[in-house]
């Protein structure tokens, strides 16, 4: 099971909230420099899985490793980027101040790197704008900038494109691909199936389990359909039949 080359690894992860099992025995290994899509409906356990992998919450059972370090571990956090489902930026600070603050929190460069990352998300001219007055899409971009400002090796993006217009969504995926090509491992959660083909590999998540894993093509072929949504339902049906 152990693969020393894996960027992210989970072994029998379980997370229960009272009677609810949000993550139900997930084991996985994710290779460096690839984009992984966690696909599943709302409430399927994607966010909890990301929180377990980033060490934001303690597992009920099992464990997670990032870059070979068992989570939670504060030391490795400087190499991880995490974009939460909400914007998670300070509305009273300017875009530049937000990015600078998170750069400092990660112990990264607070000078040129901040300008670079703001330019990367097309907010270079908004550096002095108070975050609370930015549009919804601009705040999402700022949120992404804050997750990228320290040049992480592993990037967790929880529903990064929710509420983002199609043009901006294309820009986001262009950034993600460029980062992956540069060696960053990216884990993106989404419930939007049409984004799936932009990932190198997909993990279908349902009821706290990974019910299928593969490229978009192999998953479609396995389900004998051209439609990814139909493929998901096919595997979900299989999972239910097994359960």
């Amino acid at each position: 099971m152990m693969n020393s080359g894996a960027a992210v690894r989970a072994d029998g992860l379980v997370k229960r909230f009272g009677p609810v099992t949000a993550v139900d025995g997930i084991s996985l290994e994710l290779a460096p420099g690839r984009i992984y899509g966690l696909l599943g409906p709302n409430g399927s356990g994607k966010t909890t899985l990301i929180r377990l992998l980033t060490g934001m919450t303690h597992p009920t059972q099992g464990h997670a490793e990032v870059l070979g370090v068992r989570m939670p571990d504060r030391g490795v956090l400087a190499r991880i980027g995490y974009m939460t489902q909400g914007d998670g930026v300070y509305p009273a600070l300017t875009a530049g101040e937000n990015a600078r603050f998170f750069a400092a929190a990660y112990g990264a460069d607070t000078g040129a790197a901040v300008n670079e990352v703001l330019a990367l998300v097309d907010l270079g001219d908004r550096a002095k704008t108070v975050a609370g007055t930015l549009s919804g899409g601009q705040r999402r971009r700022l949120s992404l900038a804050c997750a990228l400002v320290h040049k992480p090796t592993v990037l967790f993006l929880d529903e990064p494109t929710v509420g983002v217009d199609p043009l901006l969504r294309v820009q986001f995926w262009t950034h993600f691909r460029a980062l992956a090509d540069a060696g960053t491992t990216i884990i993106v959660s989404s419930h939007v199936m049409d984004e799936a083909d932009r990932c190198d590999e997909l993990l279908f998540v349902r009821a706290g389990k990974v019910i299928a894993r593969g490229t978009g093509g192999t998953l479609r072929a396995g389900a004998r359909t051209d439609d990814l949504e139909a493929a998901f339902l096919h595997y979900a049906g299989d999972a239910e039949a097994v359960a």
């Binding site: 980033t54 060490g55 934001m56 919450t57 303690h58 939670p72 504060r74 030391g75 956090l77 400087a78 991880i80 995490y82 939460t84 489902q85 909400g86 914007d87 998670g88 930026v89 300070y90 509305p91 998170f102 929190a105 990660y106 112990g107 804050c146």
Partner: protein
């Protein structure tokens, strides 16, 4: 007005409040607890038995007769009486907190002289309760011994003075309470925003430690608390006279409350109290989900301190069962220290002030540690 729409609104409001347990507690439980506490304090509270330093300046043989009658009357009422040679010795005994009331019987009592009561003057409510008990016994006994006329009495204080600014004895409690109140609310709401706005989760995903977060907040808010305390003390203690300019009459800015001690020591006391309020705000934000709920903690956390810390009722007159609680309340230590500074003129060299400052610092540190422990990784 549409009855249907109105019904829908009423239903929505009641449903919302019904599901908000802290609001329900505030609405129904908090008033019962607070009024119960006040009633308990008033009914079960007892003024501690006064200790009287008696100065008997009457000529013999009247001194012996009146002295014996008075001592018997006082002791019959449970009051401890110690004979002291002169007024200076009596004042020294009260100042050293060995006695609570000095009682001076003048040489000319029989010919209409005035009996003088001397109290410390630091806590007017406590002084008043002690004085009432002593004077009741004294007036009756003195009247019996000296003849049919009831002697005149006068009240003096060692600190403050009866002719001093009437606000002075209350100013320490008012200053301390409102600084504590506003710093708590500001920090509690700010940290709650950090939790609910998703930035705390994000912050916890960085190498920043919980201790660094609490220290950052404490120092950050501490800077504003410093300015707030300095401003409030300058406003309370200072007076700036603005002369008449043209048609404008002259006027003054500032409350001009007299302070016997160093304003810098008072500043230090209130600042330590405020730093404790920062940690308390962070800690209590753990249990709140909305900004309203931060406000709802006030009846639970601040109201008992207001009632039990000597702001309204003298601490030594509180029911015995509540006395240990007072020892846990930062506001009590701040009010005590500020009264020492404002009225007695005590400085950092006085043991009581040192103790109050040390406890305030410890309480601030304790809540800072607790607050950092409550910033869990399982954030909202």
């Amino acid at each position: 007005m549409s009855a249907r729409r109105l019904r829908a609104l009423i239903r929505r409001v009641t449903q919302e409040i019904r599901r908000d347990r802290p609001s329900l507690a505030l609405l129904f439980v908090a008033p019962i607890v607070i009024t119960g506490l006040v009633t308990f304090i008033l009914r079960a509270g007892e003024t501690p038995l006064p200790k009287v330093a008696l100065v008997n300046e009457l000529p013999a043989p009247m001194a012996t007769v009146v002295g014996n009658v008075l001592t018997t009357a006082l002791e019959g009422d449970g009051i401890t009486v110690t004979d002291v040679p002169d007024e200076a010795a009596a004042r020294a005994a009260v100042d050293a907190r060995m006695d609570s009331v000095a009682l001076v019987l003048p040489a000319d009592l029989a010919s209409g002289g005035t009996i003088t009561f001397i109290t410390l003057g630091v806590d007017p409510a406590s002084d008043g309760a002690q004085l009432q008990r002593v004077s009741k016994a004294v007036v009756g006994a003195a009247a019996t011994a000296a003849g049919t006329t009831v002697p005149a009495t006068a009240h003096e204080t060692i600190y403050g003075g009866t002719g001093a600014d009437p606000i002075a004895p209350f100013a320490p409690a008012i200053v301390a309470f409102f600084v504590y109140f506003f710093v708590y609310v500001l920090t509690g709401v700010s940290f709650l925003r950090e939790r609910t706005g998703g930035t705390l989760e994000r912050l916890m995903a960085t190498p920043v430690t919980r201790g660094e977060i609490v220290a950052g907040y404490t120092i950050g808010f501490g800077l504003f608390a410093t300015v707030q305390v300095a401003l409030l003390l300058a406003w309370a203690l200072g007076t700036v006279h603005v002369p008449s300019i043209g048609p404008l009459p002259e006027f003054s800015i500032g409350l001009g409350i007299s302070v016997a001690g160093s304003p810098l020591v008072a500043f230090l006391v209130v600042l330590l109290l405020a730093l404790g309020a920062v940690s308390l705000g962070i800690f209590l934000s753990t249990f709140a989900r909305t900004e309203l709920q931060i406000i709802q903690f006030i009846p639970i956390v601040l109201a008992p301190q207001f009632l039990l810390s000597g702001v309204l009722f003298p601490v030594d007159s509180l029911p015995a069962v509540l006395q240990p609680l007072v020892r846990l309340m930062p506001l009590g230590y701040a009010v005590d220290a500020l009264r020492e500074v404002f009225i007695s003129g005590s400085g950092l060299s006085v043991g009581a002030v040192q103790l109050d400052l040390a406890v305030l610092a410890l309480i601030a540190l304790f809540f800072a540690v607790i607050a950092s422990l409550t910033i869990r990784r399982d954030v909202v």
